[in-house]
């Protein structure tokens, strides 16, 4: 059993929410470290030294070309082998918002064909607006390790802030495999917990998909920001209701619990 879980929070020009992610992991009991992409590229830091990898949100490389495309292209050219080894060893990898976009551009999500090819995209929101608010989400936990601390079917609220969040699968086959394998683990719903259109589905995502876990359950990409609501008092309606932890809290507890038990 590993006592000290080391988390790499990957940064580059334009990423944000790394501080929230750092605090969330730290207050879950892990040892997080912010790592600039350059340090992995020049070999100053090794991905294999860490137990968890987190891709934060924001606008990496200014969102130029496409959200997440520049970061992913840089990683594909120099670090893909390390990244594949990290994922295949079963270590947890999570990306929120821009992190999800990067994971999709890297081919780590959904990866139903297990070839790390491009099987999906996060296209501009159908509303053609930057959508920034709290959304209702339904958890279908499957065997996604980040969701182990939730109840299956639980309805939660998390903040979103994106303009390119419309999940588009490559084709029907990819979508069918995502559904069949229970990889569509987080979905946009209305306040009653039922799938619904805009504004409940803020970006027009196929099948109301807000988050996708890989088949093995150790890579999660999610458009909303769990790290922004680690504590109850950072939730939009924090004066109502009780409870100590915010709704983003279980994502980090789940990853930590898994890492402590497995490694």
């Amino acid at each position: 059993m590993k006592k000290d879980v080391e988390v790499a929070i990957l940064t580059m020009e334009g990423t944000n929410n790394e501080e929230e992610a750092y605090q969330s992991f730290k207050h879950s009991g892990a040892s997080p470290e912010m790592i600039h992409l350059k340090k992995l590229e020049n070999g100053t830091k090794k991905l294999s030294s860490y137990d968890i990898l987190f891709f934060p949100g924001g606008f990496s490389a200014g969102d130029y070309v496409r959200a997440g495309a520049v970061m992913a292209a840089r990683m594909r050219s120099r670090l893909m082998k390390d990244l594949e080894e990290f994922v295949e060893s079963g270590k947890p990898v999570m990306g929120s918002c821009n992190g999800f976009q990067t994971l999709v551009e890297l081919g780590l999500i959904p990866n139903v064909e297990e070839k790390y090819g491009l099987e999906a995209a996060l296209a501009p929101n159908i509303s053609n607006r930057f959508e920034a608010r709290t959304v209702y989400l339904k958890i279908s936990k499957g065997h996604c390790l980040f969701l182990s601390e939730f109840e299956d079917g639980e309805i939660i609220k998390l903040p979103i802030a994106h303009s390119e969040g419309r999940f588009v699968p490559k084709d029907k086959k990819v979508l069918e495999k995502i559904v069949k394998n229970g990889m569509n683990v987080v979905s946009y719903v209305n306040q009653l917990g039922n799938p619904a259109g805009y504004p409940w589905n803020p970006n027009g995502s196929e099948s109301n998909i807000a988050g996708v876990c890989n088949r093995e359950g150790n890579v999660l990409g999610i458009m909303p920001h769990p790290e922004r609501v680690f504590y109850k008092y950072t939730e939009s309606d924090w004066t109502r209701g009780g409870g100590k932890g915010g709704m983003g809290n279980p994502f980090f507890r789940g990853a930590l619990k898994y890492s402590i038990e497995k490694y």
């Binding site: 070309v65 495309a69 491009l118 999906a120 995209a121 296209a123 501009p124 159908i126 053609n128 490559k170």
Partner: protein, 75 residues
Amino acid sequence: MVDLRITVTLKKTVEDSEGGSVLKTLKLLGYDGVKDVRTGKVYFITLTKGTKKTGREFCEKLLANPVINECAVDD
């Protein structure tokens, strides 16, 4: 020197929300004859060595996601 013009657009099957906004605005400006608007990005790239094929590699490795994009290379 080779000058490339690379145009990246959304596939016809992918809803172009920016194009939709431009279409709506043009109609509001009184242009009733506008039927459809599609948007895209154009990259003007100068190479000291390479060919159109190099441009297509740029599409594959960075400029386009084939799930939603079409990428045309002209020299």
